[in-house]
């Protein structure tokens, strides 16, 4: 876990610095608090799901951290969390998370509605 966490931080730092180095401008604050989001997504995609419980914990921790920093979570964050809830049998929490995604990013509405309709159809 420790090495995973340090890998995560290093990767994020690397990306930030890479962008800074590329644009060559003054450092600007990022729009979003990314926390562990990208590494969690990588793990999910690479392992075809992976350990959903561990990922849920990591993402829930990220929500607390962002809220403590008064920072916004990135696009897809709540949507991915919703998927993890769904995969662990928590449909109500999945719907709540997807609604949160829609609230924060109205651009997601059409797709989120599609997902929720599918969920109803599948009776899950």
């Amino acid at each position: 876990m420790q090495s995973m966490a340090s890998f995560t931080r290093t990767t994020q730092l690397a990306l930030l610095l890479a962008i800074f180095a590329l644009t060559g401008c003054a450092t600007q604050k990022t729009l979003y608090a990314w926390n562990d989001y990208s590494p969690q997504v990588y793990q999910y995609l690479k392992e075809g799901g992976g350990s959903a419980d561990g990922q849920v914990l990591a993402l829930e921790k990220g929500i607390e951290q962002a809220s403590a920093q008064n920072a916004k979570l990135p696009p897809g964050y709540y949507a991915h969390l919703g998927l993890l809830y769904l995969n662990t049998g928590h449909s109500d929490q999945a719907i709540a998370a997807w609604n949160r995604e829609k609230e924060l990013f109205p651009e997601s509405a059409q797709y989120i509605d599609y997902l929720m309709n599918n969920m109803k159809k599948n009776g899950s």
Partner: protein, 201 residues
């Protein structure tokens, strides 16, 4: 380093006119032998685009949606008609990424990890191309980059990533994907509506 070359300016008029707010990133087509290339580049793509000011459709859910519709192969997904993508995902534009190189297997002399990616942004209302670009990154770059401080930073950054993980190519892919998709670069992606720099580039 893009900053060091004077590439001819590409025409971004269609991009400026279309004003996409949301981008659907499709699972990248992978031409490299390493199967991690697709998940790696896909997981890195949200960061630069979201920070550029776009809504990015959640990539894990998108992957699952295709899978549930019997589509697990990125090249099949890239063949789906844009009208269908628009209907399901509701995004303004779709990003088609291709990974040309990922990992070390093609190298003979050096053991450098190299990642090379290219992408095309398509308007999902019209099917028109809005932008295209390509970028690469290597674990061994920097020595002859002549990039000054920026080059040194990149070098330091890459070494740091390499030293902290056995998944070296994944770290390099993060740099390549950021170079490809970060806004504010010559010929790069324009800033999107959620960025304070929207419309200023």
């Amino acid at each position: 380093m893009t900053a060091c070359t004077t590439a001819p300016k590409i025409d971004r008029t269609a991009f400026q006119t279309a004003k996409p707010a949301s981008i659907l990133v499709l699972p990248p087509v992978n031409d490299a032998p390493d199967v991690n290339a697709t998940p790696s580049v896909l997981s890195h793509a949200t960061y630069p685009l979201a920070e550029a000011g776009y809504y990015v459709t959640p990539v894990t859910l998108v992957t699952e949606t295709f899978r549930q519709n019997g589509m697990a192969i990125p090249s099949d997904i890239h063949d789906v008609p844009y009208t269908k993508l628009r209907e399901i995902f509701g995004a303004d534009a779709a990003l088609y990424i291709k990974v040309n190189r990922y990992g070390t297997s093609y190298m003979v002399i050096s053991s450098a990890a190299v990642v090379q990616v290219q992408a095309q942004l398509i308007d999902l209302k019209t099917g028109q191309e809005l932008w295209k670009g390509q970028a690469s990154a290597s674990s061994e770059e920097g020595g002859n980059s002549g990039g000054g401080l920026a080059g040194m930073l990149i070098t330091a950054v890459i070494k740091q990533v390499i030293n902290s993980t056995t998944d070296a190519s994944h770290g390099v892919a993060g740099v390549a994907t950021s170079r490809l998709l970060a806004a504010g670069r010559p010929n790069g992606v324009l800033y999107g509506p959620r960025s304070p720099l929207y419309g200023k580039d």
